[in-house]
């Protein structure tokens, strides 16, 4: 649920007193019309709060935690290993597989790997939920928030998750509340308090077997999605051909 405009105004006054709305927009790169619209509707988007926080050097997660709906964000628990691994992009995982198989066993470690792509990546939301799912997670989230299971799944498939759902998912899984916001790309790893290099360390801690299995799973999912897309494309072409 987005943030009430009143609470937002109070917060804005706290971090940028005596600043006009147009200055705030210029500093934070938000379109004036967008902010005006959100204020008129009485609901301010979480991403607005994040952009303004960054412009005024406030931690966005801490800023969100100041609002009633996001009080839980004040709890800064470190991410689990599986969460960290879930936020490594598939190409990075595949590169790691290749780098390990190329490395001379027992010899000198290969040259330092290039930095991992920061989250979010193409399937980061779904991968994150799968990483923390104990099998009942989706059920608990939909029971707790009232979202229909198919709508929840649709968001995951589209690599999206509304911020309040991301936090609700974290809480239902008992992991750090800000992780979901990293997976959806609302905040960065650093802003969520993930230690620098944590994902690389998690990757390095995977055994060859774990890494290969994981990369294989990712490839299989990607292949299925691509095949489905190609299949749809073919069907659409056929419809065009006969009825276009």
């Amino acid at each position: 649920m987005p943030i009430p405009a009143k609470a937002f105004q109070r917060w804005l006054h706290g971090i940028a007193p005596n600043t006009s709305t147009s200055d705030v927009c210029r500093e934070s790169g938000i379109k004036r019309t967008t902010l005006a619209q959100q204020l008129v509707r009485g609901k301010v988007a979480e991403s607005t709060v994040v952009s303004i926080s960054r412009a005024y050097n406030v931690n966005p997660v801490a800023a969100l935690a100041a609002f009633d709906a996001y009080l839980q964000l004040a709890d800064t628990r470190p991410p689990t290993r599986s969460e960290l691994v879930s936020q490594i992009s598939t190409p990075d995982l595949l590169r790691a597989v290749l780098a390990r198989s190329a490395a001379d066993p027992g010899g000198a470690p290969a040259a330092a790997a290039p930095a991992l792509d920061p989250p979010p990546h193409a399937t980061s939301v779904k991968n994150w939920v799968e990483a923390i799912d104990d099998g009942e997670l989706r059920h608990r989230v939909s029971a707790g928030t009232g979202i229909a299971p198919q709508n929840y799944s649709a968001q995951l498939t589209a690599n999206r998750l509304a911020p309040e759902l991301a936090v609700a998912t974290s809480l239902a899984a008992g992991v750090g509340p800000a992780s979901g916001l990293v997976a959806t790309g609302l905040v960065t790893e650093a802003e969520a308090g993930w230690p620098a290099g944590a994902r690389q360390a998690a990757l390095d801690s995977l055994s060859d077997g774990e890494l290969t299995t994981l990369a294989g799973d990712r490839l299989q999912t990607l292949g299925r999605a691509l095949r489905r897309q190609e299949h749809d494309q073919e069907k659409t072409e056929k419809i065009w051909e006969n009825l276009g």
């Binding site: 498939t157 690599n159 999605a225 691509l226 069907k235 056929k238 419809i239 006969n242 009825l243 276009g244």
Partner: protein
């Protein structure tokens, strides 16, 4: 009210037919042009003033009504073929263009023609209302004739329906799925015409609404698919974000 509905349906269908002329001239999906042209003719023949004018020119024995029935058969037959091919429903295609489908078409056509010949059809009258009023025998014949005329379109519609339901629930482009919804609603409407004799007599308006719902849904559904193609061609193939990289 009904007059407005009739003329606007005619206009919509004629406009779509005209819009298909350029691609028909290029030889692309010419059948679609014929479908829309036949549907335009059918709507024209179901409106009182043009019906009377055309039927008078043809001798005033309601031959225009027979033509109307056969035109509808032809339009629905071609539409069934195109839609089942496009939406990839080989079973439904066989039920329309295969042996069973051709048999149903032949039987209903023959029944319609024979019943027409058996009636005393003198005196132009839309929907053969005046013919039905002549005596008991003609009234029954008009009933059977009407039922036979609705049977074939209803058969094709019911054959199309499962493929449309599948398409609506699929992951095809949104516009194609909306088109499938329209075609599905049109199919249901055509199927509902089958039970017209069981409607209360004062539901005359309902029959009109159902008939024109069917025509409008089919016309807009088919037009939307063509539009979707043009639209997708313009915006170019967009990669899905979920499988990017």
């Amino acid at each position: 009210m009904i007059e407005i509905l009739q003329w606007s349906t005619l206009t919509a269908c004629a406009l779509v037919a005209i819009a298909r002329i350029p691609s028909a001239l290029r030889g692309k999906n010419r059948t679609l042009f014929y479908i829309f042209a036949l549907m335009t003719l059918a709507i024209l023949l179901s409106i009182e003033a043009p019906y009377l004018a055309i039927d008078q020119a043809l001798g005033g024995v309601n031959v225009a009504n027979l033509i109307l029935r056969l035109v509808i058969f032809a339009a629905i037959f071609f539409m069934g073929i195109r839609i089942t091919r496009g939406f990839g429903a080989p079973d439904a295609f066989r039920l329309i263009a295969g042996r069973i489908g051709m048999a149903v078409l032949a039987v209903t056509s023959v029944v319609v023609v024979v019943l027409f010949v058996m009636m005393d059809t003198g005196g132009s009258s839309v929907g053969l209302v005046a013919v039905a009023g002549q005596d008991d025998q003609d009234r029954d014949l008009v009933q059977y004739y009407g039922a036979a005329g609705r049977a074939y379109p209803a058969y094709v519609s019911l054959v199309l329906l499962p493929a449309m339901v599948r398409a609506v629930g699929s992951t095809l482009p949104t516009m194609v799925r909306i088109a499938a919804i329209l075609l599905g609603v049109g199919s249901v409407a055509v199927a509902l015409t089958l039970i017209f004799p069981f409607y209360p007599p004062n539901w005359g308006a309902a029959r009109f609404v159902i008939n024109y719902t069917a025509v409008l849904c089919y016309v807009f559904g088919l037009a939307l698919i063509a539009f979707a193609r043009v639209w997708s061609g313009r915006s170019g193939p967009r990669p899905k974000t979920s499988t990017a990289k």
